[in-house]
């Protein structure tokens, strides 16, 4: 392990896939990752990564059954660093409408809605939004990500997106057939990204490294 990371990065395994590639990317970034499967381990973690491929409802049920919901919220309230990836990002919002209305973690104000619901009736395009698309920075914000993200291609795969109420939470967006969707969101030390930084080649890994440097 190279210098810079004092603490381990805890990746939550809640039975919803894609842990190993996140760990591989953490390792690539020079940090030390560990898998955690128990809510008690959340309490003793310094940095949490919540990955996720899958359905919002199932994910929330899994977190609830494993008594992880409250410890995650507490971690965030205590301003410890957090990164939600893809579904993990969507879980940060108040609620989702995927397979019914379900409450999320409520870290960031907004709702998870379907791309389909925003598609104008006279247009034809494919959903899910799958593939490499470029980031658009929120120019109103000035932060460590300014001028680093524009035109960087990331890998997206999603049918729903995190529709944030406050644009100050949105560091970067993505444009899919004129539907502008948040790509990176932030609240204090909590970050979420809709794309998969761990699967977006060297550019994705460099953004991942920035997140882990928080």
């Amino acid at each position: 392990m190279s210098g810079g990371y004092i603490n381990k990065i805890s990746v939550i395994d809640y039975g919803i896939g894609n842990i190993s590639n996140v760990l591989a990317a953490i390792d690539y970034c020079g940090a030390e990752g560990q898998v955690i499967t128990n809510y008690k381990e959340i309490e003793s973690s310094d940095y949490i990564v919540l990955p996720g491929v899958g359905a919002f409802k199932y994910a929330i049920e899994q977190l609830r059954n494993k008594h992880m919901l409250e410890p995650i919220k507490k971690h965030i309230i205590n301003e410890k660093p957090f990164l939600g990836i893809c579904l993990g990002m969507q879980l940060m919002l108040n609620k989702s409408y995927e397979f019914g209305e379900i409450d999320g973690l409520g870290i960031i104000d907004g709702e998870v809605i379907s791309i389909e619901s925003q598609k104008p009736s006279n247009t034809i395009f494919k959903i899910p939004h799958i593939g490499w698309n470029k980031l658009i920075e929120n120019k109103d914000l000035n932060n460590i990500y300014s001028n680093l993200l524009d035109d960087k291609y990331m890998y997206f795969v999603h049918s729903y997106y995190a529709n944030c109420k406050d644009s100050n939470n949105v560091i970067a967006s993505v444009d899919y057939n004129k539907i502008i969707m948040p790509a990176i969101i932030q609240h204090k030390y909590s970050y979420g990204c809709q794309f998969h930084p761990e699967k977006s080649g060297p550019e994705g890994l460099s953004i991942m490294k920035r997140f882990l440097d928080e």
Binding site: G17, Y28, A55, F125, P128, G131
Partner: protein, 255 residues
Amino acid sequence: MSSNIRLISRLDIKGSYLIKGIHLEGLKKVGNPNEFAKKYYKDGIDEILYMDIVASLYGRNNLQEIIKETVKDVYVPITVGGGIKSVDDAREILKCGAEKVAINTAATKNPELIKQISKRFGSQSIVISIEAKKIGENKWEVYTENGREKTGLDVLEWAEKVDKLNAGEILLTSIDQEGTLKGFDYDLIKTVSENVSIPVIASGGMGNIDHATSVIKDSKADAIAIANVLHYGKISISMLRNKLIDENINVRRLY
């Protein structure tokens, strides 16, 4: 912007070897799949597709070790198919680091599986692999077991059905064109792509860059699966990408 066309390298696996055949038969060993995947990643491929072409025939799956090895070096999405019969099988594959599972035989036998996997892991994690054989004018039949078994299903009807059952994508392979290097089955790809709401990956027959241009522009493919021409070094990924950019086709730009 609209979606960018994805360039996917398709690696057919038998045991621990990358193989290549004609019409999904007459197999020839090409090399170590991990080495090829690593090379394609370095060259800028958008995705990797592993298909264990004997797994479903023998009811087993060799791919897990290969996936685990690949994800150590390859940081682009990986789709894995072959022998996946249940939600648990899908979970095992995703757990190894794959983004998506591709399912053919099990879905034709039990279409509800598509719904189950989609509900559990999200629709974006399930690719329905359709092996299509031309049986008449604008008519194709669904085959399984790498073109060995007929199903009696009509390709377009099946594609529309898997779309409704919440599949995330369709990998559409022409058995007739597969391995011939004579170009895609353009009518097949166009017919399906225009009638489903989910992305269609064109597979089978790519022999040169013009084939790619045609299947994207005329047949409305959302992605292309490339095998032989890459494995044997006939074209490079950067050459293909640059040519597509020249043709005003949206692809991921590498700087």
